[in-house]
Every structure is written in structure tokens, then in C-alpha cells.
């Protein structure tokens, strides 16, 4: 047998309280697309950080073409032909494309030469990009292209891609796969990290599955069913949320002609958004990140005030009301960013329960706080949503992502809202917690709450929502009933391929 390109042998890395990787071994062959599969927290990121030289393994060895490979820093890894496209882009908003790319190279050529090479490579691989544009103004898909081109300019032997499709529309995914197939045919190996099984089945030659830091199996994706892979990944049979037959009531939330500039410099303005949500209905809003999701949540929560008539709750204009007034009426929200937005990291769970619960749960009188009632409320959330924590006096940041998310969603659900808006309710959450959160949302809807669920996880939206709309550059497509929607239709609602067709004429 030929020597593999990269061979990992018994890699172990422990952090205080958690073993991120425990004796992980597998090989990546030359010109192979190798999938690394696992849930959030399974240890995928730590593993690739070791390969990329960002983290040093506690024990174990790596062999690159048979030679011991122990990069002390990313620079060394890059010099040996390892390139990485990060999940959360390591890009600099205020710098232009060429400067960003130069920062990822060891010996960048002068800017003028670099720009022409960027054009060259971007045309070869069907990834159009202007080297002099400011990165902050690019769409998520374009930003990913910057990262990919930065990697390709170094002629990598191994290209690591961490969840690359989470920011792409289905059409853009197809184009990305063409690029990756082209690279494979040229002999580049790709380590492809994902938890999206269908993608892996179409693209990858081999798959290694991680669970709780351990290598729990390998398979050839094309010959394995998605369900089998999922069970290897999760370690138990999956539960799909139950939904009972729904009947919708009157319109609870009515948004019409909503246009709002973004509060942040590189944000997206909302443009003429229309939607109605009836009592008991779940409206799913899809779309690639950065297309106005944060702004939509901000407008609905009351953080960004707008024209009174643009948002109506049970016919009453609420656009000018702030978050507290809206909560009083029954319009509750849960933002995407758990630490720092939905919750204050250094404050206790009790204080965080007070953060949104003060009005509806009667946790204050005349401006004075009622600590014991607040603590009770926090304990109720912890109990009802199975939040794993020693108690309500612990700081929010001491909780794991999934547990904090359960707390944040639980805090709003327990206040029995009439309208609930959630953004990315299960982002970065393990499968069991995600299922619990989805079930809670469905149960709430069954009781007559109008729910808006903003998410980038299309599978999730298809699972829980009655109707679907997509955000694209701040515009919301007309909502459609979920049943019967095809992937292609969803992709077009999300904005198709964002101008990528140009390169493929």
C-alpha cells in the first residue's frame, strides 16, 4: 500500500475537565476527500487545530508522507503544505481581499502581482473575486472564497475545510463541490469537516467518525446510509420531534413594509420585509448568515426601534416599543449569541433569569427586585429544561453551550409568550439538547403561540416549521408552506448562487 499523505496516530489532547481528543488515529490518502464527522463538541476542531499547528497534542504522532510532522505553529504547517479554511472566518473586515490573502501567506509577492494571481486562481476554480474590495462588504459566500483562494495560492497538499457549507445556499454548495472535485483530480487531499450527512455522501471518499473525542468508526460514505452514519455520530437512535396536527388562529404578528438600516458598520439593512404569523404557526426563516438575521431579531425584540405600524401584535402597532414594553404584551425573543447578548457571561443564572423575566414573572415591584422569586424562576427553568448546572448561583459562562442555550430558550418559553422569535435556537448544541429545544418550540406552538424561528439549518426548519421564507441581503421572500418545498426552490428563495453563475458561463 502507498504511504498516506497524512497519518494520525494516537493523538490525545486534554483540557481541564475534558479530554478533547482521546487516542485518535486515521490516515488521509493522496488525492482523497476525507470526511471528519461528529457532533458539536466531539473534538473535530481540536483535532484540526493540532494538524494546523494551533494546538500541541499531549501525546501521539503525526506523519506527513512518512516523515514525523509536529508543526509548532501554523506558519510551519503552512510551509509543509497544510492549508485551512476556518468555519468562523479568520478575515479582517477593514482590509481588502489582497491584504487578507497576503496575511495568510509566508512570502507574499508585491501587492500588484498578488492581485493578478488572485484573479488568475479565482478564474481557474470558478470563484470570482475582486482583489481590491473591502472584505467587510462581501457576502458570506464571497468571504469563504477569500479563504479558499488564500489556501489555493499556496498549492496545498492538504486542504482542511471546517463546516464550509454552513454559509452557502444549496446552489453555492454545488459550485463549491465542483471546485473541490477539481482540486481532488489535481491530486490535492481534502479533510472535510461536517455534520451534514448527505453532503458527505456525495463528496467524500472516506469518513472518520468522532464522538466525545474518540474515533468511533470509519466508513465509505457512498456505501453507508445517512441514518447509520448519524447513529454512529450520536451513539444512540435519534428522536425526531413530534408534531401534532395544527390549527392556526388569527394573525398574531404582522410585519409589513419594514425597512431598517443596520446598526453595525458591516451589517445588512432590512428592506421592505413583509410577513404574518398566525397563532400556533411556526414560521421558519432560512438564509445564509449575515443576510439580516441579527437585524430582524433586533427589530422584533425592540432593540432596534422602527415605525410603529411596521410591526403589529394582535393588530396593535408595536414598532416603536422597546424590549420591556413588548415583553409586557407577550412578544418574547431569544437572540443567537448566547454569551453577551442573550445572557451576561459573568452574572449568575438568577440574575440572567431577571434579565428578561422581570416584567412578566413579576420579579420587581416599584423598581425593587425580588431576589427569592427570581431565584425560584431560575430554578424552574433549570428543572423544566434539564439545564445541567450545580445551581442558579453559577455564572452563565460556566455552562456548556447546549445547557446555556436550553436555559435561554427555557427562560422565554416558561414566560408563556404569545409571540416567540428565536434566532439559531440549536446552533452549536448537541443532538439531544437540540431535539429538546425543538420539541419545546413545537409544544409552545401547539398551545397557540406564534413562533418565528430564524435558522441556517435547513433540516431543522423543514422539521419544525409550517411555512418557510428566506432572508437574502435583507429582503425576505414571500413565505410558503413547508410541505412540498424542494431543495432547489429553497435554494432560489435563499438567493441562488449569489452571482457565482458568471464564472460558469
Amino acid at each position: 500500500m502507498t504511504t498516506p499523505l497524512l497519518s494520525l496516530q494516537g493523538l490525545t489532547k486534554a483540557y481541564p475537565g475534558v479530554v478533547a481528543n482521546d487516542q485518535v488515529s486515521f490516515d488521509i490518502g493522496e488525492g482523497e476527500v476525507h470526511a471528519l464527522l461528529g457532533e458539536n463538541g466531539a473534538g473535530k476542531s481540536t483535532l484540526v487545530k493540532m494538524i494546523y499547528g494551533l494546538v500541541k497534542p499531549d501525546s501521539g504522532t503525526m506523519l506527513l508522507r512518512g516523515q514525523v510532522f509536529a508543526p509548532p505553529e501554523p506558519r510551519a504547517a503552512r510551509a509543509d503544505g497544510i492549508a485551512m479554511v476556518f468555519q468562523h472566518f479568520s478575515l479582517f473586515d477593514a482590509l481588502n481581499v489582497a491584504e487578507n490573502i497576503a496575511l495568510g501567506m509566508e512570502n507574499p509577492p508585491p501587492m500588484g502581482d498578488l492581485a493578478s494571481r488572485i484573479r488568475e486562481v479565482s478564474e481557474t476554480y470558478g470563484l470570482p473575486l475582486d482583489p481590491y474590495r473591502t472584505v467587510g462588504d462581501l457576502s458570506a459566500g464571497e468571504r469563504q472564497r477569500v479563504e479558499i483562494i488564500r489556501c489555493l495560492l499556496q498549492d496545498p497538499k492538504l486542504l482542511i475545510m471546517d463546516e464550509p457549507t454552513s454559509v452557502l445556499t444549496p446552489q453555492e454548495v454545488e459550485i463549491l463541490f465542483e471546485t473541490l472535485n477539481k482540486l481532488r483530480s489535481e491530486g490535492t487531499s481534502i479533510l472535510y469537516i461536517s455534520h451534514k450527512l448527505e453532503e458527505i455522501r456525495t463528496l467524500c471518499d472516506h469518513a472518520t467518525i468522532l464522538r466525545l473525542g474518540k474515533n468511533v468508526g470509519a466508513c465509505i460514505p457512498a456505501e453507508t446510509s445517512a441514518r447509520d452514519m448519524a447513529e454512529m455520530m450520536v451513539g444512540s437512535t435519534l428522536q425526531t420531534p413530534e408534531r401534532s396536527g395544527r390549527e392556526f388562529g388569527d394573525v398574531a404578528l404582522d410585519v409589513s413594509g419594514l425597512s431598517v438600516p443596520s446598526p453595525s458598520e458591516f451589517g445588512t439593512a432590512l428592506k421592505n420585509v413583509h410577513m404574518t404569523v398566525r397563532k400556533g404557526e411556526v414560521l421558519g426563516i432560512g438564509g445564509v448568515a449575515g443576510n439580516g438575521q441579527d437585524e430582524l431579531l433586533g427589530v422584533l425584540s425592540g432593540e432596534i426601534p422602527t415605525a410603529a405600524d411596521a410591526i403589529k401584535f394582535n393588530g396593535q402597532p408595536i414598532g416603536k416599543l422597546g424590549p420591556t414594553a413588548r415583553r409586557k404584551l407577550g412578544v418574547l425573543t431569544a437572540p443567537e449569541e448566547r454569551l453577551g447578548h442573550a445572557a451576561a457571561p459573568d452574572m449568575s443564572l438568577t440574575e440572567n433569569a431577571l434579565l428578561t423575566g422581570s416584567v412578566r414573572e413579576g420579579l420587581e415591584s416599584n423598581g425593587f427586585m425580588k431576589w427569592s422569586e427570581t431565584k425560584n424562576f431560575a430554578e424552574r427553568i433549570i428543572g423544566a429544561f434539564d439545564v445541567r448546572t450545580p445551581g442558579p448561583d453559577n455564572a452563565a459562562r460556566s455552562l456548556s453551550g447546549g445547557n446555556l442555550q436550553k436555559f435561554v430558550i427555557g427562560r422565554e418559553v416558561l414566560q408563556s409568550p404569545d409571540v416567540l422569535v428565536v434566532n439559531q435556537p440549536t446552533w452549536g448544541v448537541d443532538a439531544a439538547a437540540a431535539a429538546a429545544i425543538r420539541q419545546a418550540i413545537l409544544d409552545l406552538a401547539a398551545k397557540g403561540t406564534a413562533v418565528v424561528c430564524i435558522s441556517q439549518d435547513l433540516d431543522e426548519l423543514m422539521e419544525i416549521s409550517d411555512s418557510f421564507a428566506a432572508l437574502n441581503e435583507g429582503r425576505l421572500s414571500a413565505p410558503r408552506e413547508t410541505t412540498g418545498l424542494t431543495v432547489d426552490e429553497i435554494g432560489l428563495m435563499m438567493g441562488g448562487a449569489h452571482g457565482m453563475e458568471v464564472a460558469h458561463v
Binding site: G53, L91, F92, A94
Partner: protein, 306 residues
């Protein structure tokens, strides 16, 4: 009152002198802020530079050694800021204030025996031929060497930030320290270098006040110049040439109000003396609407977790 006593050539020439301490401190702080660090200790570093430079010049008789000592003194004080913010990860605003309070006290302590002493004179460079051109000559080409150092430094910082790889990395660190770290750049190390550079520049600026501008030593003699330099960085939108322009503008106001005081204009002295501070506030108000050019990581603490 006699406005005719104000000689425009001397006025412009002296505004360049008045502007130089501001320029030196502001250029240093600009680099620090470009790296994503907000060091509010400029005033403290300047005053320590002022006394270090003064003491060494008096002891050695060499203004040049004095300026070197001032740069070292400013940098050593900024090292305390490094320890607080980059090692102990303390809040940058509080640490900067601590630096200023400490620096004011420390300089007063060091300077006790230097009150009323006259420092050695640095002399002026008369650039041959062009310094003899009427009007332009005395304005531009008959100054002390440090004034030209300030302008050269501005040019160097501008070119480095704009064209060099070091400059690009520095900007990247200030823009998004997490991304820079992910690419393998040593965020803390780069920031420490920037802070030390800023300290040295502030020290030079301070010594310029005690050795050339005034020249003598009095307690608290920087009188807010360090704070104005901080405002100047905002005014300059983090661009070196605009810092130069701003420094000359403020220098002009300072010199003008001193000249007006001397000429005995009917405005009370106190109101003239407060004018530079009020104008600083006005300028801040006008320019604070646009924060788009501020480095995105400015003032945020970086700690490399896994």
C-alpha cells in the same frame, strides 16, 4: 493691546515647535491604537520622559543623551502598562489612568532637585542655502533636530503602516486579534512592541517640552498635552499625515493664544488659556460621528484560549 507686535513668521515657526510634542506623542499612540490597544497613559509617559530627558541632559550636558533617556524612560513606564494589560489582562482604561497617576507622582519625585535648573541647549540646524530663504527659511529650516525627527517619524510610520508587511500585520492584529492569532501571528508580542514604541515616542514628546519648548522643569508641566494627543489620534482618524496636520492646528491655537495673551488682548487670560482644551472638545464632537476608521479590536483584551 497691540496685535502688530505679533510677528507672523515667528508665529508660524513657533507653532511648529509647539506642535512637535503633540505630534511625537500622537504618532506613538496612533501605532499603539492601530495594534488594537488603547493606552490612556500618554500623559504619564510624557511627563516621565520629560523629567528623564531633563535629568540626563543636565547631568551629562548632552541633549541628545537626554532624548535617548526620555525615550527609554517612556518605554520603561509603558512596560508597566504591558504588564498590566498584556500579562495581567487588566482593563486598559483603568490601567492607562493608573499609568498617568503614577507617572505624575513619579516624575515629581524624580524632578525635585531639578526645579529651576537650566538644561543644555540643543541648538538649531541651519540647513545651508535654503534656511536663508526669507520667510520660508526661518519658518521651515531653522529648527532643532528633534522637530525634524518628528516629521521623519511621521513619514516612517505612514510608510510602514501602508506599504510594509510589518505594518499589515500590525493593522491585522488591531482589526481582529482572534483571526490574527488563528493565522499564527503573535498578537501579544506585536502589541507589546507597539506599546513600547508608543511609550518611547511619548517620552520623546515629553522631553521636547522640558528641553526645548519651555525649557525647564516644573511639576506636571505637560499640562494635558498627553490627553490632547489622545484626542488628536481620533481627530486624525488613525492616519499619520492627518495627525501631523492636527498637531500643527493645535500648535497654532496654543501659540496664537499665548501671543494674544502677550499682546494684551481684551479677552481675560483664563479664557485664552482654556481655549486649546475647548477646541479639542469641539473637534472631538465634530469628528466623533465617524468611527468607521477605528481599529475594530481597539481596547479589547486578548487571551488565547484553546
Amino acid at each position: 493691546m497691540d496685535l502688530g507686535e505679533i510677528n507672523p513668521v515667528l508665529l508660524v515657526a513657533s507653532l511648529m515647535v509647539a506642535a512637535t510634542p503633540l505630534l511625537l506623542a500622537a504618532i506613538g499612540e496612533l501605532v499603539v491604537e492601530k495594534a488594537g490597544v488603547l493606552n490612556l497613559g500618554v500623559e504619564g509617559m510624557m511627563i516621565v520622559g520629560a523629567i528623564s530627558g531633563f535629568a540626563i541632559s543636565v547631568e551629562t550636558g548632552s541633549p541628545w543623551l537626554g532624548f535617548i533617556a526620555a525615550a527609554v524612560g517612556g518605554a520603561v513606564l509603558s512596560l508597566l502598562f504591558v504588564l498590566l494589560t498584556q500579562v495581567a489582562l487588566a482593563n486598559q482604561v483603568a490601567s492607562g489612568l493608573a499609568l498617568t497617576l503614577f507617572g505624575l507622582g513619579f516624575s515629581a519625585l524624580m524632578g525635585q532637585s531639578y526645579v529651576g535648573v537650566k538644561p543644555p541647549d540643543m541648538g538649531e540646524i541651519h540647513i545651508p542655502v535654503i534656511s536663508d530663504i526669507p520667510v520660508i527659511g526661518p519658518i521651515l529650516f531653522q529648527h532643532d533636530p528633534i522637530l525634524y525627527v518628528g516629521i521623519a517619524l511621521t513619514t516612517a510610520v505612514w510608510a510602514t503602516l501602508k506599504y510594509s508587511r510589518v505594518g499589515l500585520i500590525l493593522r491585522a492584529v488591531g482589526e481582529n486579534h482572534d483571526a490574527a492569532h488563528a493565522l499564527g501571528y503573535k498578537v501579544i508580542k506585536i502589541r507589546i512592541m507597539a506599546i513600547l514604541f508608543g511609550g518611547a515616542c511619548a517620552g520623546l514628546g515629553g522631553a521636547y517640552i522640558s528641553l526645548i519648548r519651555v525649557p525647564q522643569w516644573t511639576e506636571g508641566m505637560t499640562a494635558g498635552v498627553g490627553w490632547i494627543a489622545l484626542a488628536l489620534v481620533v481627530f486624525a482618524s488613525w492616519k499619520p499625515w492627518r495627525a501631523l496636520l492636527g498637531a500643527y492646528l493645535f500648535g497654532g491655537i496654543t501659540v496664537l493664544q499665548l501671543n494674544l495673551q502677550a499682546a494684551g488682548v481684551a479677552i481675560p487670560v483664563e479664557y485664552l488659556a482654556m481655549s486649546p482644551y475647548i477646541i479639542t472638545i469641539l473637534v472631538l464632537v465634530i469628528l466623533s460621528a465617524d468611527k468607521s476608521s477605528a481599529p475594530a479590536s481597539l481596547g479589547r483584551t486578548f487571551h488565547a484560549s484553546h
